[in-house]
């Protein structure tokens, strides 16, 4: 069942015309703002770019007041739904496959619904989707999809912490942060990262692989994933934290959970950083030379890991600063708040429900297999067999076609030198109709390596159909067409030349 939540326009006391106009005029006079009522523009100029220490009342009051008198068209539900679908395509492109646990998703959406009721501004559309990644956190997409990795539910302890996460993500949507998405270094490298991952993971024999083992592929997967999700600066994160607190208080949650949530954010970043310490990336230069596409993997990996480390350091350090800001905000505006008990039972009851428990157990098996591989189990037959047994448990029933679990089985089978079986796993993931981009990508690369050029073109056509005409398809299209002896159109060559840097330009031409 599709669960839809909407925050309706509610007349706030602050929206009383005379009172609101007086306050607006006062704020505009003090801060020298123009009268343009874009929330984002107003926000930046009213409160300054660096921090929110000058607030004279809760952030939500300012925002709702700024929206006073604006007319917002109700978006047709069909448009809202197609927006979510667009967001989900982006999610699949970034490696997230949807989890089929409707009751957990409905529960999360109910929590989101409560939060949305405490927003009295314009109508906001948002909906929670759960994906099978093991990571901790949440991502809000531009059309209102809030994507939560299943691994997050393993770390959250109660409903209030879930509300904190959702309130933070909802705030990014309310504050229209997608218009100021700071796609930095990693975003620019998205293509290279994708190709690098593909080349390093698609090789059949381990002796040939450019990366030494599974743990390093995993680190690279983080980099690739991070490059494809929205990224915001400190100011936006602070704004989302504080508005999140307002929404939580308004909805009757214990807003202290926001601090606890930020502690988990910091700990999670730190854990990843420690993982990088334990698993330094080793590039085998001989194998690097055999990569099918020509780019400097050595320097790219150096750049990528340096950036990932810096980002994780920053995330960890900033989590403490953000906690401090939230504590100060709670003290300043909500000192007398009611501190209701954290709702542990509702949260755990949902996770323990039979329909949820069964599916969670399958993902737990997948995560355990993943952990075994990370710990180096793939270096022994016994270890690989254990991982294989766990992996097999993760691909039955509702999770039979899940991309996350099938990709794991693909990696296991590859390490067992069972190439056919490895590919079969990818084909099964494709059957879901909702496979991630990586599944298509690996199948296409495999077809090309086996000189099945027509098959390769078929996959490329499917990728275009499912994910749009993306730049990274261009080089592949050209190389497969060339191998088939088919002419490459001038327009495709021109597009190729316009996209890629010097090292790849030779591949754009005949």
């Amino acid at each position: 069942m599709v669960f839809e939540v909407q925050a309706k326009n509610v007349k706030s006391r602050l929206e009383r015309p005379v009172f609101a106009q007086f306050l607006l005029a006062t704020i505009f006079f003090i801060n020298g703002c123009s009268s343009t009522l874009s929330v984002k523009d107003q926000f930046g100029s009213v409160f300054g770019e660096e921090d929110l220490t000058n607030l004279d009342k809760p952030l939500i009051s300012h925002l709702v007041m700024q929206e006073n008198g604006e007319v917002f068209d109700e978006m047709a539900l069909s448009l809202v739904e197609s927006g979510y679908q667009e967001d989900l395509v982006e999610t699949r492109f970034a490696g997230g496959s949807l989890v089929d646990i409707s009751s957990l998703e409905e529960y999360a959406n109910k929590v989101l619904g409560r939060l949305m009721k405490s927003w009295a501004g314009r109508t906001i559309h948002a909906k929670v989707f759960i994906v099978s990644r093991k990571d901790f956190g949440g991502i809000s997409r531009k059309n209102g999809a809030i994507v939560i990795p299943l691994g997050t539910f393993r770390l959250l302890e109660n409903e209030d912490q879930l509300a904190a996460l959702l309130a933070h993500e909802l705030s990014h949507i309310i504050l229209e942060h997608h218009q100021t998405d700071v796609i930095g270094f990693l975003g620019n490298k998205a293509f290279d990262i994708g190709e690098l991952y593909l080349n390093l993971s698609a090789k059949n024999g381990r002796e040939e692989a450019a990366l030494k083992d599974y743990s390093q592929l995993k680190a690279l997967d983080w980099v690739a994933h991070r490059a494809l999700i929205p990224s915001w600066g400190r100011v936006q994160e602070n704004e989302a934290d504080l508005l999140g607190v307002d929404l939580m208080v308004g909805a009757g949650f214990n807003a202290d959970a926001m601090v606890m949530f930020l502690k988990l954010v910091g700990a999670s970043a730190q854990e990843k950083q420690e993982y990088l310490i334990k698993n330094p990336v080793v590039i085998n230069k001989k194998a690097d030379q055999s990569l099918s596409l020509n780019f400097d993997a050595d320097s790219l990996v150096k750049d990528l890991f340096s950036v990932l480390d810096q980002e994780l350091s920053k995330e960890h350090a900033e989590a403490s600063v953000r906690q401090k800001k939230v504590r100060g905000y709670l003290k300043g505006f909500y000192a007398d708040r009611k501190r209701s008990d954290f709702n542990v039972s509702a949260y755990h009851n949902v996770l323990r429900a039979r329909s949820v428990r069964g599916v969670l157990a399958k993902y737990e098996s997948a995560y355990s297999a993943d952990e075994l591989l990370v710990s180096g189990a793939d270096s022994s037959v016994k270890g690989l067999n254990r991982a294989s047994r766990l992996g097999l448990k993760s691909v039955s029933g509702k999770t039979k076609y899940d991309s996350h679990n099938r990709l794991l089985m693909y990696e296991i089978r590859k390490r067992q030198n069972k190439q056919k079986s490895a590919i079969k796993n990818l084909e099964l993931a494709l059957k879901s109709g909702e496979a991630t981009y990586k599944v298509y990508s690996l199948l296409e690369a495999n077809a090309y390596e086996n000189k099945q050029y027509k098959e390769s073109l078929k996959y490329l056509s499917k990728m275009k159909e499912s994910f749009g005409d993306r730049d990274d398809l261009v080089l592949r299209l050209i190389r497969s067409k060339k191998s088939l002896g088919e002419p490459v159109s001038l327009s495709l060559k021109a597009r190729c030349l316009s996209i890629f840097k010097s090292s790849a330009i030779a591949q754009c031409l005949d």
């Binding site: 330094p280 050595d298 150096k302 810096q310």
Partner: protein
């Protein structure tokens, strides 16, 4: 049968040991002034007046206040929002990534580990 009982006993004992090892402690104060609850009222207190770290956590209530033994030996409830507990704390290592070894055919990239000095 005896073997099973012995195994169960060992398991029980080892779990006990694990529990002892994982006992929660306050390992840091996140602010100079922290919220504490005394006689049902939430008040502020200087972190330095609470006691030397680490401080064993005796129990936790439903609103995330942590019961500890105060400096004067009396019971004190500290807000979990203002402290870092041992389960969420590992010593931060914020050095930049670097080339940490170089051979002819391989280059290893990573970040420095715990205890290694960071260049300033």
């Amino acid at each position: 049968m005896k073997k099973e009982i012995l195994l169960a006993a060992l398991l029980f004992l080892s779990n006990g040991a694990l529990w002892a090892e994982e006992r929660l402690e306050i390992v840091a104060f996140d602010d100079e002034v922290v919220e504490v609850r005394k006689n049902g009222k939430v008040i502020e207190m200087k972190a330095s007046d609470i006691g030397p770290l680490p401080i064993a956590i005796l129990s936790k209530d439903k609103v995330n206040f942590l019961k500890i033994k105060g400096k004067d030996g009396g019971e004190l409830w500290v807000s979990g929002s203002y402290v870092t507990t041992s389960n969420l704390s590992k010593i931060p290592k914020n050095c930049r990534s670097t080339v940490i070894s170089k051979a002819n055919d391989e280059v290893m990239y990573g970040v420095r580990g715990a205890g290694e000095k960071c260049k300033k």
